[in-house]
């Protein structure tokens, strides 16, 4: 056992690289700010996407560490300082989400359909009955509490746990005093993060698709963040080992993180599939639309998500020995890290694009047709769409009747907004045509012409463009910068942790033939 190099030093060269990364991210953010729609949707959705993902990694790293402490998990003591330092990034998350909160209060973007002025006022041009029923929760005040407020609360726990752990190092005589306090903070953090993370995710991510909701969504995104944190842990362990730190962190530690990476990837798939299958089976229009839109218009995102986050980790990490190989683990961790970034891209982009498109149309003066059928535009139930499609060849009169029946959610407003029945028929017919394309365009039945331009393939929405990758690198650099800054502040080994000895002698008991020669050599020391 070689316990040297326990004090991390943040090398100037690494700093330069990270500053370059941050600069690249900033340039790419600025690039996406221009040349997009009037709401700068690409810029804002990128900002939200990366803020949520990287902040999520930081608080889920803390949650995972707390779960280990609570469960008497001694094996991880040698890598505990990595998670503590990752958790300190929450403070940056507070700043990032504050920017989002300001943008919501100031209407600087249109990611959130519920944030449209007048959305809950009956008779307003923007009135939306479904969202009107949700404004008690989907409003700027709750948005502020659910994002910045909760992050501040979690940061409080992060600081408490971190300070306690560092103070423990100064403990002269071995005692359990600090440890007992730490256990209390760790255990109390679990329900706090477990319940509140749902609100954070509902507010920041799920409310983009304001009409839609899923009870599985919060768990599924939370696990996505946890996998981001675990894959980041693997990447950081291997990186720190490669530059001469953490010599005492062995294959056995890596094996255990690998098991979590494997097992929780399967759990992620389970949640993903649960959400998908329940909605697919029940086939309620208002729920199905979320997947229908993504499967039809964003197939690369949809299937890529499963390929990156299920197929790759499942088949590569299934074997015992792959979880113990530094190269393989590094490769898989990079894929999974990118995969969950992709997962959040998939969750955020299509909805944000629809919300902004809807707002742009409103601005352009199509408000009459929209207020006539608010439930009918971006979040049309497939039933309504199919009815409209059937009616496409009929006379305008029949058509109006059909559409009114189908968009029953909106019939009352149809009457109030349009006094003349003929106008109503004409308006609905106008609306029906693009929807007919939506329903059949992806099935190559597009007899009405090309797909709706608001859903057509577009770099930055249907697929991450170079700017998106640059922004990811920027945020990653920011994350790593804060991580290394905090890692530097304390010893890499929690010297007085009661579980340190257990961790340093951690063995999984795995018998891998190819490793036996190394091991035999090791025993002679």
């Amino acid at each position: 056992m070689n316990i040297t190099n326990t004090q991390f030093e943040f090398a100037g060269k690494t700093k330069t690289v990270l500053f370059a990364g941050m600069a690249l991210g900033l340039v790419c953010l600025v690039l996406t700010f221009f040349g997009d729609d009037a709401y700068h949707t690409r810029f804002w959705s990128n900002f939200l996407h990366n803020s949520v993902y990287f902040t999520g990694i930081s608080f889920m790293a803390l949650a995972f560490m707390c779960a280990q402490i609570t469960a008497f998990g001694g094996w991880m003591t040698a890598i505990k300082r990595i998670w503590e330092s990752m958790a300190m990034f929450i403070v940056v998350g507070i700043v990032l989400m504050t920017v989002m909160v300001i943008s919501v209060w100031g209407h600087l973007n249109h990611l959130y359909h519920w944030n449209t002025p007048g959305i809950a006022e009956v008779g307003s041009a923007t009135y939306d009955r479904i969202i009107a029923g949700k404004v008690g929760f989907l409003n700027p005040v709750w948005y502020t509490v659910g994002t910045v407020g909760f992050l501040a609360l979690w940061y409080f726990w992060a600081v408490k746990i971190r300070n306690n752990s560092i103070e423990q190092d100064t403990n002269e005589t071995p005692s359990l005093d600090y440890y007992k306090v730490q256990r209390r903070w760790a255990a109390s953090f679990l329900p706090i993060i477990g319940f509140l993370v749902c609100v954070f995710i509902w507010q920041s991510v799920m409310s983009i698709d304001s009409h839609w909701y899923s009870t599985m969504f919060a768990w599924y995104s939370m696990i996505s963040m946890l996998l981001g944190a675990l894959s980041m842990t693997v990447i950081l362990i291997i990186y720190l080992k490669s530059i001469g730190y953490l010599e005492y962190v062995s294959r056995d530690h890596l094996h255990d993180v690998g098991k979590f990476l494997f097992g929780i990837s399967v759990f992620w798939t389970y949640l993903w599939f649960d959400q998908f299958m329940l909605i697919w089976y029940a086939n309620n229009g208002e729920e199905t639309v979320y997947f229908k839109e993504r499967m039809n218009f964003y197939p690369v995102l949809f299937w890529g998500n499963l390929l990156l986050n299920f197929v790759t980790p499942f088949f590569i990490l299934m074997r015992n020995d792959t979880k113990r190989k530094f190269g393989t683990m590094f490769f898989v961790a990079c894929i999974v890290f990118f995969g969950h970034w992709w997962d959040f891209f998939y969750m955020i982009k299509p909805g944000a694009r629809s919300a902004a498109h809807h707002a742009t149309e409103m601005q352009a003066g199509h408000s009459t047709s929209h207020s006539a059928a608010p439930a009918h535009d971006t979040h049309a139930a497939p039933a309504a769409t199919e009815h409209a499609t059937d009616a496409a060849g009929h006379t305008a009169d029949t058509h109006a009747a059909h559409s009114e029946g189908a968009t029953h959610a909106a019939t009352d407003t149809t009457h109030s907004a349009t006094h003349d029945a003929t106008t109503a028929a004409a308006t609905t017919a106008e609306k029906a045509a693009p929807h007919a394309e939506e329903a059949h365009g992806a099935d190559a039945h597009g007899e009405h012409g090309a797909v709706d331009p608001s859903k057509a393939f577009k770099i930055g929405y249907s697929f991450p463009g170079l700017e998106e990758l640059g922004i990811m690198i920027g945020f990653l650099s920011l994350f790593l910068f804060f991580f290394f800054k905090n890692l530097e502040k304390a010893s890499l080994i929690p010297w007085r942790d009661p579980y340190l000895e257990e961790s340093l002698h951690h063995e999984t008991g795995a018998l891998i033939e190819s490793e036996q020669d190394d091991k035999a050599g090791h025993d002679h020391h």
Binding site: M277, W280, G509, L511, I512, Q516
Partner: protein, 176 residues
């Protein structure tokens, strides 16, 4: 598993570290250990005994793969060829609906397959008489055993001196 009886000379140790030291000593003395019995899995014992990596997991994967293809194949055949029924307006070949059952049968086949394989390897079948050297090796004793069925007196003496040298708590002979 062998049908004929075996005469075994075995030593009982109180601690797994003592047992590991004894196995290492036996290796350096070139003594041929018959087997080692412990109440729980002792980490690091397999390599010094020179055991190969277990191939059980390959069988586990095979059983699971058989279960998965059986379930998926059967459902596909039943619902598209043999007896197609429309459920909830879904297509006959409704892959998402098959996945939970495919998963369950994968687990079931793997679990049953591994259980039966394990019984076969250990020679455990209904009516088999347990060949236990000592009841305490399932509780608190760590046992190292030598086969002395055909050993001459000098070899047995060598084994006995080995046990006293390595600190065995107790040395017994038993025919199983």
């Amino acid at each position: 598993m062998a049908s004929e009886t075996t005469k075994v000379l075995y030593g009982l140790y109180n601690d797994e570290e003592d047992l590991k030291k004894a196995v290492k000593a036996a290796n350096s003395d070139h003594l041929d250990i018959m087997d080692v019995y412990t109440p729980f899995p002792v980490h690091g014992l397999d390599p010094i005994l020179g055991l190969k990596e277990s191939r059980l997991h390959q069988l586990g994967f095979t059983y699971g793969a058989i279960g998965a293809s059986f379930a998926f194949g059967l459902m596909s055949w039943v619902f598209t060829r043999d007896w197609p029924i429309v459920f909830g307006g879904k297509p006959y070949w409704s892959v998402p609906a098959f996945i939970p059952i495919t998963f369950e049968l994968t687990v079931l086949f793997a679990a049953w397959g591994m259980t039966l394989t394990f019984y076969t390897i250990c020679g455990l079948w209904p009516g088999v008489k347990a060949k236990s050297l000592d009841n305490r090796i399932t509780d608190n004793k760590f046992c190292l055993a030598y086969d002395v069925t055909e050993a001459d007196d000098s070899t047995v003496e060598k084994y006995r001196s080995f046990f006293s040298k390595t600190g065995a708590d107790e040395v017994n002979v038993k025919t199983i």
